[in-house]
């Protein structure tokens, strides 16, 4: 499903270069639930975004369903993100001027789904995460936990086969972190491949398998 082959990423700065990923090899099977752990600055987020088609590696290849994604034209790579991958960010990255319903509609709008279908699907997903009474609230009017659930609902809008979560529990208290993991586990049970990045061993332990990243290398 997801495969990194000898992936390296070097950030070239003015005074120094940083090797964020160093010859990473990994393979994540379809329907797997994997956590990537490691200390701060170990390259976890870079690896996740590279797997998600957002960071072009300096070397090596990333495959999704056997397709080398960075060899795809830009438009097709965007379509892959739209249709196959769902992202959850640490700070949720909700669009501040849109309501919860509209935020969940965004991936559907980008896909060209009709407005009626967008609303139906978004409302259904928000009901699923228990936010049926917050459809018309903007992010600023929602609690952190509620924002987290909107972000999860958004990541599921286009029925992705892969969900990549970057420190999804980094901004919430332990109770909300557990709730988030419960929902990611639910997705996993529904057949979605889930990859989460975390620095918290307790959270990592909830995944079916763990990868440890240190100084850009899987150990």
């Amino acid at each position: 499903m997801l495969r990194a082959q000898n992936v390296s990423k070097r950030y070239v700065g003015r005074s120094s270069d940083v090797l964020a990923l160093d010859s990473v090899e990994l393979e994540i099977a379809k329907g797997d639930f994997v956590s990537i752990v490691g200390p701060s600055g170990s390259g976890k987020s870079t690896l996740l975004l590279t797997l998600g088609g957002l960071i072009r590696p300096s070397g090596g290849k990333v495959y999704v369903d056997g397709q080398s994604i960075y060899e795809l034209p830009r438009g097709e790579l965007a379509a892959l993100r739209l249709n196959t991958i769902g992202f959850v960010f640490q700070t949720f990255n909700l669009v501040p001027y849109l309501t919860a319903l509209e935020n969940v509609q965004v991936p559907l709008y980008l896909r060209g789904t009709s407005r009626t279908q967008q609303k139906e699907r978004a409302a259904q997903l928000l009901r699923k995460v228990g936010l049926e009474d917050r459809l018309d609230h903007k992010p600023a009017e929602l609690s952190v936990g509620q924002q987290q659930r909107v972000a999860l609902a958004r990541s599921m809008a286009n029925n992705p086969r892969i969900v990549l979560a970057d420190e999804p529990t980094g901004n919430v208290d332990p109770e909300l972190a557990d709730e988030m993991l419960d929902r990611l586990s639910d997705m996993h049970r529904e057949g979605v491949t889930v990859v989460i990045v975390t620095h918290d061993p307790r959270i990592a332990a909830r995944a079916a398998s763990q990868l440890r990243l240190v100084a850009g290398r899987i150990v």
Binding site: L49, Q90, Y97
Partner: protein
Amino acid sequence: MNTFLLVLKELRERKSQLLTSFLAIVLGITVIVAVETITHFSEKAVAQELDNLGANVLILPKGATVNNYYTADFGEYVMPESYVDDITTSQLQGVDNLSPKLTEAITLRGQRVYLTGILPTEEFKAKPAWQAPGGIFARPQGCGTVVPGRLARALGGSGQGSAATNAAPRPVVDALGASQVLVGSDVAERLGLEVAGTLHIQGQAFAIQSVLPETGTVDDTRIFAHLHVVQELFHRDRVVNAIEMIGCCQEISKGLIDGLNRLLPEARVVTIKQIAQTQLSTNTMMKRFSLIFLVIILLVGAVSIANYMFANVYERRREIGTLLALGATRRQISIIFLLKSLMLGVAGGAVGYVAGMVLAVALGPRIAHVAVLPLPGLAGWAIALAVVVSIVASALPVSRAAQTDPAEILRDA
């Protein structure tokens, strides 16, 4: 959700930031519309005033020069009077008035003077200076068309007029009797001629119908009789040696002269440069002035919009990164920002047009001393201009938005 709603919601969310760049485009368009509107009416007023100075195009026989015209010494240079018909029945635009003339030197009371045959109606129309205080000659209204009915009547010497002729606002002395002459002020003074006196020319008696007001031109030194009478007196059958023409100045610059040259290859068409150039240069000066004004204002508006769009793109870089991560293409990101720019231009142009018109109607009479009416045709122009400025000014910020590297933003998040 669609792109329009997304942009609209974002615009509503950040109203205060939007306000300054919106005001910049509105103010820019307001000033441009006001200046253009006032200039339009001012130009019309100036053109009308300049037209009143008289003919600005001369049609002379081949070989004759402007000097021949001013000295009235045409020798044997003549051309058919039918050229007037040729012009009247042609499709040429911008011909306001035609005054065919035949000038002959005569000796009166021992002095050499010039007798000029004219078609009275056309001559009076072209010579507002001949309109004495109180207006014995009226100048018919309108620019750009000769009135064939009037000309035919003048050519035929009949008194029957068309409805258009009769619609003149003040009474026109539209016929100069076969035995009547008009005397220029200078000639009248030199020869001691007075109204109701009698003159003998080539053995024929003429009553002095009027002594013309002083004009400061060659007309002061001439005696005027009906063209056909002069032609008969000097056995010049249906010929003239000059046709004075008033052409609308814009049309002169748009090829009226070329059209006349093509129509009358055997004649010489001369622009009376001094007059035509004054008209053209006045209009050109006003146009240049408003153009400079327009460019400066547009630049200010464009800089303000570009500044706003840069700030907006910077402020929304996380949103852009998120949209890209969610699967948006760079083209979709560009469209979101370009649509915003388009909406800003359309709204700014429309509001600016209305404000500009109000300003022009209110200020026109005070600053340009002309009555100003709204010009609906400017609305589309104003909106199109605002849209173009807004989109051009946004091009760079939009390109920057589309080139946003989502990883850089999301990694830092």
